[in-house]
C-alpha cells in the first residue's frame, strides 16, 4: 500500500525504506553499525570534522584510531581544547588544517607534542581562536546563524593575526572570508558594550563524540561535564556517536531531561566499550597515566613514535584489541569508583 501522507515524514515509510540497507536516515530506528563502517561512510579525505571531549576526558579515541587505520588524509579539523585525539590524528598524518583554541594534554603534555612539531615544521596550517569563540562558532552552526558576538579578545593577536590568508579564505568555499570581525554594537552602549567581536559559524561534514549511553536510534546521554559536545554535535551535517553502553530506549526515555542528544541529529551509533581510552570517561574509567606518559615519550622521537603507531594503532583491529594489549591489570586500575566517578587513589605520576 502506498503512503498518502506527504505532509510529514512517515515513520512506516522510513522503516520500509531502510529494510535491507544501512540505516542512514536520521529518523531510522536502528543506526547501529561498526566503527569501521561509520568512519568509511562519513569521514573522507578532505572532510571538515570536529571531535568532542576536552584535554584528557572523553576524547572519541576509538574513532580517532580507526580514522588513522583507514589512513584518511587532508582533514580540516575543528576543536576547542583537545589533547590526545588531536595529537594522534596529527601524528597519524590525517590532518592538513586545524582551527583550535588549545592543544594540550594537561600534566601529560602541556603542549601536544605532534601538534607542536607539525606547527613548527609547517606541515599543518593553523588558525587560533579562544575556547569561548570556538564554542560560539559551533553554537552558531547549530542555530543556523552566520555568526555570534562576544566581548572576548579585543586588542589581541587572536583578532590581528590570521593563520589562513585572506586569499586562501576567498578561494575556499568551505571557509568563511573573514577569521572574525570587530564591529560597533548596533545598540549603542546598551549593556555597557560599545563593540563586539563576531565569530563565524562552523558547520562540519561530520562530528564524532563519545557518550556514556546511547540507544540504537541515537538518543544519547553524557554524564558529567558536556564541554561543547552538544553544540559540536548539532553543528554537523553528520553525527557519529560512539558509546560505552548501548542501552534500551526505555532506559533513556524514562529520564529524558538527562539526555542531551536527540536521535534526529544522529547518523551512526557505534557501541565501543572503553571508546575514550586512554582518556577518561566519567563514571566508567579514569585516564591512563601510564599510557599517556608512554605516548608523550614516544611522540618526542621519530623512531619510537613509528613503533608506537605500529604496535598500538595499526597493529590492532580496534579498541577491544587495544584494551587487551594494554592488559587487565591496568584497565582494572583505572575503573571508576561509582560514587566519585573516577579511580580513587590512582597512581597518576
Amino acid at each position: 500500500m502506498e503512503c498518502v501522507d506527504t505532509s510529514i515524514s512517515c515513520r512506516d515509510c522510513d522503516i520500509q525504506l531502510l529494510k535491507g540497507r544501512k540505516a542512514i536516515v536520521n529518523v531510522g530506528p536502528d543506526k547501529v553499525m561498526t566503527l569501521k563502517e561509520a568512519i568509511e561512510d562519513y569521514v573522507k579525505d578532505g572532510s571538515h570534522i570536529s571531535i568532542g571531549g576536552f584535554t584528557t576526558t572523553r576524547n572519541p579515541m576509538a574513532a580517532v584510531y580507526e580514522i588513522m587505520r583507514q589512513k584518511v588524509r587532508d582533514l580540516h579539523l575543528y576543536v576547542h581544547s583537545n589533547g590526545p585525539a588531536v595529537d594522534e590524528l596529527i601524528g597519524g598524518g590525517c590532518v592538513s588544517k586545524i582551527e583550535i583554541a588549545y592543544g594540550g594534554s594537561g600534566k601529560f603534555a602541556a603542549t601536544c607534542i605532534r601538534f607542536k612539531k607539525a606547527v613548527q615544521e609547517g606541515t599543518i596550517e593553523i588558525e587560533d581562536y579562544t575556547n569561548y569563540q570556538m564554542t560560539l562558532r559551533f553554537l552558531a552552526g547549530a542555530m543556523g546563524l552566520p555568526f555570534l558576538p562576544t566581548r572576548s579578545s579585543f586588542g589581541t593577536d587572536i583578532i590581528n593575526t590570521w593563520g589562513f590568508s585572506r586569499e586562501a579564505r576567498k578561494n575556499d568555499p568551505k571557509v568563511p572570508d573573514e577569521k572574525l570581525v570587530v564591529m560597533d554594537s548596533p545598540f549603542g552602549n546598551w549593556m555597557d558594550a560599545e563593540k563586539v567581536v563576531l565569530v563565524p559559524a562552523i558547520q562540519t561534514d561530520v562530528t564524532i563524540i563519545h557518550v556514556q549511553k546511547a540507544d540504537k536510534q541515537g538518543t544519547g546521554r553524557i554524564e558529567g561535564l558536556t564541554f561543547a559536545d552538544v553544540e559540536q554535535a548539532k553543528s554537523a551535517k553528520h553525527l557519529i556517536l560512539t558509546c560505552e553502553e548501548l542501552v534500551d530506549t526505555g532506559d533513556l526515555r524514562a529520564a529524558p531531561n538527562q539526555n542531551q542528544i536527540p536521535f534526529i541529529h544522529v547518523d551512526a551509533v557505534v557501541h565501543v566499550p572503553h571508546g575514550a581510552y586512554p582518556t577518561a570517561c566519567h563514571y566508567y574509567y579514569d585516564y591512563d597515566s601510564a599510557y599517556l606518559n608512554d605516548y608523550a615519550k614516544a611522540a618526542r622521537d621519530e623512531q619510537l613514535f613509528s613503533e608506537y603507531l605500529e604496535k598500538y594503532v595499526y597493529g590492532v583491529k580496534g579498541q577491544e584489541e587495544l584494551i587487551a594489549l594494554v592488559g587487565k591489570e591496568r584497565i582494572q586500575a583505572i575503573a571508576a569508583d561509582p560514587h566519585t566517578g573516577y579511580a580513587k587513589n590512582l597512581k597518576r605520576n
Binding site: 586588542g155 561535564l225 564541554f227
Partner: protein, 253 residues
C-alpha cells in the same frame, strides 16, 4: 620551616583569594593555589573551571581542567558555553578572579601563550589561548604566574594571546574590553602589581633572600621598585595544609 619557591608562589596566590571570590583555575599550580585558598584562608571561595564545573569538591588534585575529579560534588556540571557566559555576564563575572600562566609577559600584563618567534614559522609553538584570552578579556581581576627570566619579561610579546592592560591607561576601554585586567604577577622571585593610573607594572614585593636588583636583572624592561617590600614567607601551618591536604601525592609540588 623550609619551603620551595613553588610552595611560596602557591601560598602568595592563595592569600589573594577572598571569601566570595569565584576562582577560575587552569591546570597545575593555579589549581593548587585555589585549593590552598579554600583550605586555608578563604573557605567560602568557589572553585570554578572553564569546562563548566562549579564548586566541585576536590578530594584529589585534578591534572587537567576536564579531569573527572572536577566533576565530583559540583553544584552543577555544564559546559563551556555556560562557563564563559558566567564570566562575560557582568553580574557573576564581577566576582571571578582568574589565574593564568604564560610564556611571555610585557609591562602592561599582556601575555603570550601561543608562539615564540614568528607566528607563521614559530621557533616554539605552545598550546594556545584555550580559555585564557576569554578570562583575561572578561574578568575584573586576575593573577598571572610567571618564571622570573629575562626572555619571559619582554618589551614586546611575540604574540599577544590574552589582553592585560593593552597599552596602559584606558587601553582596555578604548579597545572595547570590559574593565579589569591583571592585578598581580607572581614569580619564583617576586610579586608585581600594576599602577592604578598608568597600569604599568611595578615591583610590589620580593621574596626573602632575593634583592630588588636580582629581580630587575631578570627582566628585559625596568619597573618601579620604590614601593617594594619583602614578602612574608609561608607559615608552618600554611605549608602543612598545602602539602598534606592539597597535594599529598606531590603531583604539582
Amino acid at each position: 620551616m623550609e619551603y620551595t619557591s613553588r610552595e611560596m608562589m602557591t601560598i602568595v596566590a592563595a592569600r589573594e583569594i577572598k571569601n566570595g571570590d569565584i576562582v577560575f583555575c587552569g591546570t597545575g599550580i593555579s589549581m593548587l593555589a585555589a585549593m590552598a585558598a579554600k583550605n586555608i584562608n578563604a573557605p567560602e571561595s568557589v572553585i570554578f573551571f572553564e569546562t563548566g564545573s562549579i564548586d566541585a569538591r576536590l578530594e584529589e588534585l585534578p591534572l587537567a581542567v576536564a579531569d573527572p575529579r572536577v566533576m565530583y560534588w559540583a553544584s552543577s556540571n555544564s559546559g563551556l558555553l555556560d562557563a564563559f557566559a558566567t564570566m562575560q555576564n557582568r553580574i557573576t563575572g564581577e566576582h571571578v578572579i582568574g589565574i593564568l600562566g604564560a610564556a611571555q609577559i610585557d609591562k602592561f600584563g599582556n601575555i603570550n601563550s601561543t608562539v615564540i618567534g614568528d607566528y607563521y614559522k614559530p621557533r616554539t609553538r605552545f598550546s594556545g589561548s584555550g580559555g585564557a584570552c576569554d578570562v583575561a578579556s572578561f574578568v575584573p581581576r586576575s593573577i598571572i604566574f610567571m618564571q622570573q627570566e629575562k626572555r619571559k619579561f619582554v618589551n614586546k610579546v611575540d604574540y599577544l594571546t590574552s589582553p592585560g592592560h593593552l597599552t596602559g591607561n584606558d587601553g582596555r576601554k578604548k579597545a572595547g574590553l570590559p574593565p579589569g585586567g591583571p592585578e598581580l604577577v607572581i614569580t619564583n622571585m617576586a610579586v608585581m602589581r600594576f599602577d592604578d593610573a598608568t597600569k604599568e607594572m611595578y615591583l610590589s614585593g620580593y621574596y626573602p633572600g632575593i634583592t630588588k636588583e636580582t629581580v630587575l636583572e631578570n627582566m628585559e624592561f625596568d619597573v618601579d621598585v620604590s614601593r617594594a617590600e619583602e614578602v612574608e614567607p609561608p607559615t608552618a601551618s600554611e605549608l602543612t595544609i598545602l602539602r598534606e591536604r592539597c597535594d599529598p601525592q606531590r603531583l604539582i609540588l
